[in-house]
């Protein structure tokens, strides 16, 4: 887990990749500036098209949790299974 303030600091230093795990329609409605959308339902396709070449050591922060579903947790797990080591989840909604 990473706090919003710590994540903000890392974004400003351009160290961290921010991933929005919500469905695309929600991402289009609202998202953190600079965040990249990787919707859970389309994870495999989007991953192959966009993230397959990404450095496995890079810091990644995932967000996107609702009362009904932890999109962030599921996407983070999928990234960990693909060998990414620095995957964290943003605290709060």
């Amino acid at each position: 887990m990473v706090s919003p303030s710590a994540a903000m600091e890392e974004i400003q230093h351009d160290e961290t990749l921010i991933l929005d795990a919500m469905p695309t329609n929600f991402y289009q409605q609202r998202h953190i500036g600079g965040a990249v959308n990787i919707p859970l339902g389309l994870f495999d396709i989007v991953y192959l098209m966009t993230f397959a070449e990404e450095d496995k050591e890079r810091k990644i922060v995932v967000y996107g949790e609702t009362i009904s579903k932890s999109y962030d947790l599921e996407v983070a797990n999928k990234l960990l299974l693909r060998g990414y080591k620095n995957v964290r989840i943003l605290e709060g909604d």
Binding site: P23, N25, F26, Q28, Q29, G41, T66, I67, S68, K69, S70
Partner: protein
């Protein structure tokens, strides 16, 4: 409102919910996804509800068509419609870009049209509850209670 109109409405609402349920029963995962988009159903009920609710719709629709426990079915359907309308209204207030997930996995966007359709359906349900007296399924087959009413025998002195 005549009992004949209530009967026609009962068949219509029954067929409507039977159709709605049959598009969800084979695809509980997609229905769970559509429900999750509303962001109101707690995660621990999401999958269970996605399996149970379409079957409740199916049974209520079937019962309305055959006239078995039609008032109880009408109450259940009415409750589901009210609940759904509240969920739609909250998401409209939030400006959520979601589809209703009513009949198929894509569905139409939520909005006042959907709210109006549901309110009309709710009026049908009220009519069924208060005026449905025709072809009610009881032990021994279908009957019209108005016709089969037996006058109690006069008390002998």
């Amino acid at each position: 409102m005549s009992k004949y109109t209530a009967f026609v409405l009962r068949i219509y609402v029954g067929c409507f919910f039977l159709y709605a349920s049959m598009s969800k029963i084979p695809y509980p995962a997609q229905f769970a996804e559509a429900t999750a988009n509303y962001r109101l159903v707690p995660y621990w009920f999401l999958n269970l509800g996605a399996v149970i609710l379409p079957w409740v719709e199916f049974v209520c629709g079937l019962f309305l068509i055959i006239g078995f426990m039609s008032r109880a079915s009408a109450i259940l359907i009415g409750f589901m419609i009210i609940l759904f309308n509240v969920m739609v209204l909250i998401n409209m207030y939030w400006g959520a870009p979601i589809t209703c997930g009513c009949y198929d996995t894509v569905g139409e966007p939520i909005g006042w049209k959907k709210i109006t359709e549901n309110l009309i359906m709710l009026i049908f349900i009220v009519q069924i509850y208060y005026f449905d007296r025709l072809f009610i399924f009881r032990r021994g087959g279908l009957e019209d209670p108005a016709r089969s009413r037996v006058t109690p025998p006069a008390a002998s002195r």
